[in-house]
Symmetry: C2
Subunit: 185 residues, 2 copies
């Protein structure tokens, strides 16, 4: 079940470095892309860095709206991850092409992708140099939710069902799935 995550704990959704889906909407249009380079930057308020290629339609929508949604897909969604990561919303309607369903969340400024297990609504901070020089964006979380089968208090559980595990991009359509949870202390 999708449950709210306390904002100051929401950076944890992304702390283990999973691949993400980024959605954004502006002026009646909405798009979604894959982004592997999404990383926490601060805890409270939560900030993350997000790399969005210069020609990405989702980036254009996010900049126009000033907001985006970061979300964590599962190994069961690999065809969607690859699909939205290798096509452009300027050419195809990714939502219908890849049969992507949306969560019903009226407060979100862009669609939440159903089947994901963590979601964060974030606003773009004003860092034009970073966008221009590096395609890098600094965003601040303003709301977050998680599937309580995968995260507890924003923290990855140690009993995640195999089909709900998150994935990390190795290169070129190859991913590594989360394995065992271990404790150093």
């Amino acid at each position: 079940m999708r449950v709210p995550v306390e904002l100051k704990k929401s950076w944890r959704l992304f702390n283990h470095g999973p691949v993400t889906l980024v959605s954004a909407a502006a002026d009646g249009a909405a798009n979604v892309m894959a982004a592997a380079w999404v990383t926490p930057l601060d805890f409270d308020p939560p900030k993350l860095t997000v790399v969005l290629a210069a020609d990405a339609y989702t980036r254009e929508l996010a900049v126009r709206a000033g907001t985006l949604v970061l979300q964590v897909p599962t190994v069961s969604m690999l065809s969607i991850v690859e699909g939205v990561g290798t096509t452009s919303g300027r050419d195809v309607d990714k939502w219908s092409r890849f049969a992507i369903e949306r969560e019903d969340e009226p407060s979100a400024p862009a669609p939440l992708v159903r089947g994901c297990v963590g979601w964060m609504v974030a606003r773009l901070l004003d860092e034009p140099h970073l966008a221009e020089a590096y395609d890098l964006f600094v965003v601040e979380g303003i709301a977050a939710w998680a599937d309580d089968r995968v995260y507890r208090d924003g923290r990855l559980r140690d009993d995640v069902p195999p089909e709900l595990r998150t994935v990390h991009h190795v290169a070129g359509g190859v991913y590594v799935v989360d394995g065992e949870i271990v404790k150093a202390r």
Copy 2:
């Protein structure tokens, strides 16, 4: 065996989001810390973003030297990862405290931690605003190596022995180990 990695493929060492160890040396002193927030930013030349806390001694040494070493530890090294991540080199000699061995690599500007499976020497780009506002550094790789049991052409292999698998930080000393490799295409 530690083998060189072609520079334009070296971003791959870090692409799946593993926790890293960062070492730096200046004026005869060397230190090492853990950093979970290390992410590729560009391919060729390879650039990465690195978050280093304001009071970190390794950060001070890296800024003085203008260089650092990023490296990927394994699940077998969790006590070192936690140890260097929860102590300060201003208080203790981490190298002796945690019995950290070094690779023999004369070309590197700081020690390479033995037992790691990927290493990148990088120089700090001049972005003082990022360091001050976010503790964020942009670095550019200038040399890289990998353990050929774990990476091939910089890319995570699909037959990594369990004891050499890389780990991702969940939160508070809990890590998730790399599991199965899957292909979306």
